[in-house]
Symmetry: C2
Subunit: 235 residues, 2 copies
């Protein structure tokens, strides 16, 4: 099966969580919108009326006759097929639960720089972003990191799942967006950091991260580095 991934071509964004799973598994896929007529194909799915099951937004995945949207839903589908999810129903529900918690976390990361409206520029919501960033750094970031530290402690297992790959990506993104904050916080979450290193050193993933297929972080994605929103610069 050759998968087709549809996502905005210039950012990692939510599409990256799907890319990491496909790349780690060595699964054949096309990153459709990153090739010349691909954007048009993606917009046709988004704006046309041919699909019985339209996506609300990218990413979405074409897998044979299926068109699946919502990042966590795509990973729910891919997990067992890419051997990145447990076999048991209990195990799959647990991994999906972690993925949905990561999805919640991502919304909060995004809203640090877009607390008023996703359609407005950051520059049009800077004072609000500073306030939200202070709350995020002080309360929400430690809460999420602490939760995953505890989850890794309770259920130590050598087997990597798609949720572990996603947690790796969140740490990568946080280090890019909030380097000062992460320098101060990381030592409190040794299991999260160890997991990040373990994922980064997986051969296929390491090759992907060093390749041109990996889009660099930038100021259009979910994780954005604005010095004024990082530690020591907020209110």
């Amino acid at each position: 099966m050759r998968y087709e991934l549809y996502y905005w071509p210039s950012i990692q964004g939510r599409g990256e969580f799907v890319r990491l799973a496909l790349e780690d598994a060595g699964a054949p896929y096309v990153d459709v919108a990153r090739r010349p007529p691909g954007m048009k194909a993606m917009l046709r799915f988004l704006e046309g009326d041919a699909l019985k099951t339209p996506p609300f937004a990218p990413p979405f995945l074409r897998a044979g006759g299926l068109l699946i949207a919502q990042t966590a839903n795509i990973l729910l589908y891919l997990g067992p097929r890419l051997r990145l999810a447990p076999k048991s129903e209990a195990g799959r529900l647990w991994v999906h639960q972690l993925q949905l918690t990561i999805a919640d976390w991502l919304v909060e990361v995004h809203d640090v720089h877009h607390p008023i409206g996703s359609g407005l520029y950051y520059e049009d919501q800077k004072p609000e972003s500073r306030r939200r960033a202070a709350d995020f750094r002080k309360n929400r970031l430690p809460k999420f990191l602490g939760y995953f530290e505890e989850a890794l402690k309770r259920k130590a297992s050598g087997k990597i799942t798609y949720a572990h790959l996603s947690l790796f990506q969140v740490v990568e993104g946080l280090r890019y967006a909030f380097p000062g904050t992460m320098r101060k916080l990381e030592r409190r979450y040794p299991r999260v950091i160890e997991l990040h290193e373990r994922v980064a050193s997986r051969p296929r993933l390491a090759a992907y991260l060093a390749s041109k297929r990996r889009i660099p972080f930038n100021r259009q994605g979910i994780f954005r580095h604005y010095p004024e929103l990082d530690a020591g610069n907020g209110p």
Copy 2:
């Protein structure tokens, strides 16, 4: 199987999406935290260290030996068991995709009154809330309503799923929180409104909605009515 639902006892919140599915199916369940020692039991799961698979937050469901968190994940599990999800994998992925889009929508509804921090009072973020509410009413609310209108148009089917029950609940909540806005908008989304009525008239659900088990909307939940955030009062 007698299910145990754990959720904050004084609000509808996210727990309500699970309650609606259980009630509509006539499934036996205990709303644990609404009975005397129940809050203690819920907090023991949240704060203790006995669970291998800890929840990040309520709601969570105990089903035999499983403890499942994240609203959409609980419904993914319950759907087929309560006959509120299609049998095919494609059908289940589609219903879950809709549920995850509703989950995204709910975050935005909540953040209208909490754009800066979920741990702060509304009163401490009123100017920001007004700005966010204006964007929500003008851009986000029509986008979500339009999406579900279109989804109902494309895949007309008599069979009610848990995602339909959830969409009913969102309409209920929006009418409570934004009565002025909804009065103006509703006529544009006839299929959403028809679905809302169809769900409300299901016998078991109608009985539940008229019972004391249904907690009234209030200003502690996700949907809150603040006149200054409704249509005609924003900036």
